[in-house]
């Protein structure tokens, strides 16, 4: 060691750089924080404690990755602000066991490589208690193993991939949307009931989202009825979808099912208009929001086409429409929107984000006053299936199933930005048959009023 130390003084440039390397790292390392001391008391007999990472006696820190820029940003960039707005309203109404909730959402640009980075930052540096509503199938796939290895609750992934419902492999991960196979089955069941014998074409995103939907449709319809299935990549959306739509037209599809993100749905509808092709269009819940779609259609056509392009589109929903102003949940969400979220539009993404934040609040209340991360998991496994709120269909949470909403109802959009419900609730799971069901929407609890 003595000899090498004397060598160091010789000033070889690499060692100087290595030293600087260490300095930078050490300087950065010193800024990492630790949790604060306990002390403050709430009304109950038991004091709040810092019971888990991200939880202090007065606060809960949650994280999320959201597409604030990039191909999925149109529409979806509103979900993060909506979740945050709900928590701000909740904090003003007493929070959860007196704790205020902070929701920190970072931009990943819908790029899995960025998701890896921002989620590690949230978990390892910011020390979040849980990840809530991480958005996207390709993006969240890149971090689901990391979150489960680190035992971080990974709640209500904003994606309908069936891959979140694997409690044995990913015990900390829970789905939220009806998975895409279920959506495919519901759409297939509706087509079977109402458009029997018509030629069906499918336009789908070339990943687990679109692929899952295609599986579901194929389960419900005979192979001969599906005349064409056209994939697209989200990265190549800038080229438009003219080729795929032309292929569907050439195959003579009378009903076109769209397993597409909102931007792709808008492009497909415009391509149909350009080609003079007017099939019956049926879309997954991913593109169910008329406000978002109308905005995109108008944007892509440079204002030439508006909401009229959506007239007659069938779609799915498992939450009330933002235009249903007589619904008590929509009334609550509009109140929250005007107070905390007024920069963002009132649309389905707002309902989606706020509803998700509400179900998270139910889970936290059920996990107890001083919950560990495991307490939250246990609460969802034992009670999740009984929770009611804005959801129209039941949730599928149990110790052996981490499935979110177990079905949907079919809506038909009109050209004026509204929609009407045209079916009862279809309820199913991945393997079972499709059954019809009455809505399970519950009342707004008093602690939110």
């Amino acid at each position: 060691m003595g000899e090498s130390r004397s060598s160091l003084r010789r000033g070889f440039r690499v060692i100087a750089v290595m030293a600087a390397f260490s300095l930078v790292a050490a300087a950065c390392g010193s800024s990492s924080s630790t949790s604060s001391s306990s002390g403050s008391k709430t009304s109950g007999s038991v004091a709040n404690t810092a019971s888990a990472p991200g939880i202090t006696p007065t606060s809960i820190l949650l994280g999320s990755h959201q597409p604030l820029t990039g191909p999925a940003a149109p529409g979806y960039s509103e979900i993060g602000p909506a979740i945050e707005a709900f928590f701000q309203y909740l904090n003003a109404h007493g929070g959860i066991y007196g704790r205020s909730v902070t929701f920190k959402y970072l931009d990943d640009g819908y790029n899995p490589a960025n998701t890896v980075q921002v989620v590690r930052k949230l978990v390892l540096q910011d020390n979040v208690y849980a990840i809530l509503g991480g958005l996207g199938t390709p993006t969240h796939t890149a971090v689901v193993n990391f979150l489960n290895q680190n035992k971080v609750p990974d709640l209500f992934v904003a994606s309908g991939c069936n891959c979140w419902n694997e409690p044995k492999v990913h015990p900390y991960t829970y789905g939220w949307e009806p998975d895409y196979i279920i959506e495919g089955k519901v759409l297939g069941a509706y087509i079977k009931d109402h458009f029997a014998g018509m030629k069906v074409g499918v336009l789908y995103q070339n990943d687990d989202f679109g692929g899952g939907g295609l599986i579901g449709i194929k389960q419900m319809l005979p192979a001969s009825q599906i005349v064409s299935a056209q994939p697209y990549d989200p990265t190549t959306l800038t080229n438009g979808l003219g080729t795929q739509v032309a292929a569907l037209q050439a195959a003579g599809a009378q009903v076109v099912v769209l397993f597409t993100i909102p931007a792709a749905t808008a492009l497909a509808l415009l391509s149909m208009a350009v080609l003079g092709y007017h099939p019956t269009t049926v879309s997954s819940s991913v593109s169910s929001d008329p406000t978002t779609l109308a905005g995109l259609v108008s944007n892509f056509s440079k204002g030439k086409v508006g909401a009229s392009a959506l007239n007659g589109l069938y779609t799915l929903d498992y939450l009330p429409m933002s235009s249903a102003t007589s619904d008590p949940w929509i009334q609550l969400f509009l109140k929250i929107h005007s107070q905390y979220d007024s920069k963002e539009p009132v649309d389905g993404n707002m309902v989606y984000g706020m509803a998700m934040a509400y179900y998270f609040t139910l889970a936290m209340r059920a996990a107890g006053q001083n919950p560990t991360r495991q307490d939250l998991i246990n609460a969802i496994n034992s009670q999740g299936a009984t929770w009611t709120g804005p959801g129209l269909v039941p949730l599928g949470y149990s110790a052996t199933q981490h499935l979110g909403f177990m079905g949907a109802e079919v809506l038909q959009l009109n050209g004026a930005g509204g929609a009407s419900v045209v079916s009862p609730d279809y309820v199913t799971n991945v393997q079972g048959p499709v059954t019809t069901h009455a809505s399970v929407e519950g009342p707004v609890p008093s602690w939110l009023q």
Binding site: S7, G11, R13, S22, N111, Q125, P138, N145, F146, T235
Partner: protein, 360 residues
Amino acid sequence: MEESMVEAKPEPKQLPAAQQPQGPRRLFGQPLVRNVIVGVVALVLFYLLIGHLSQYRIYQLSQVGPYLIALVGLSVLTGQNGQISLGHGALMAIGAWTLTLMQLHTKSPLWLMLIASALVTMVFGALLGLVAARLRGPYLAGATLALALGLPDITTRYQSVFGGYQGLEVSQPNAPSFLGAAATPTEWLAIIEMICVVVVMILFANLLRSRVGRKFRAVRDDEIATQVSGISVPRTQVLAFALSAAAAGLGGGLFALVSGNVSPGGYTVVLSISLLAAMVIGGTGTLAGAVWGALIMVYVPGWATTLSQKLSLNQSVSANLALAIYGFLLVAIIMVAPVGVQGIVRLVIFKIRNLRKEPG
């Protein structure tokens, strides 16, 4: 030992002036011995350092390694051999998918997968070098840019093999038992990387002092004179491209391990351009400059995010702030300090030495 690893002639007096060890450094003896000692000391310091860091800081540090190794390759290609490459991000992707596919389909040990990442990419680099040797300046930049633009799309075209837009998952190796039960995969990866960094730095440092290094520089400085001296210019250029690609491939393989995922979104043309910018900012052609460049690539985007959050900038601005900072630094560095950060460091060290000498 040094004879077996380096084909260098023991005649340091004949080295070109720029690379010649000066002053007290001569006492250090053989370059290889000296570099190995420095490398081992750096490894030990690094090992002690990560014991004091949070997991996130270690994760951040372990991102430096892959960029650093790729930058060493790029810097040698451009700074020492005079060839430009806008395709090193794509070469990193080749290394990354090589490692991932090996992990998925074979039960190879980690060291073998890393070596394969380097070798497979080296083969691609040699092929690219064959093209590159016929091209100069902007045409070479164009050809390599085409690779950077086109290669990520192959992964979505052949989705069943390469995983498409979603990419493939990469599992991280568990820490070996001799590091203790508390050692995490993140820490173990950081150590693996530091070992790779040290090995690559030593290999390239010695390569540059060898006959091969002198050939590289001869081609860079005057192709006609080099050819007249009986050295094949195209062969030297292909060799430089192959070795540079091997480094990029190893960097890519390590990057896949650190990320736990490979997807085309991580290896876009932006990566290639960031590498080039980081190389120039750090100091083209110097190994130490690659260290600065890699640190900039890892830490500047983080600082940019923090800054834009503090200023509460619009999302579309903040998503591109890091690139804007690269651009600004690039212009500033080229105008103020053409040899980059390392040039400034050298100047400062030089001034300090002169200050010390004058009174004595």
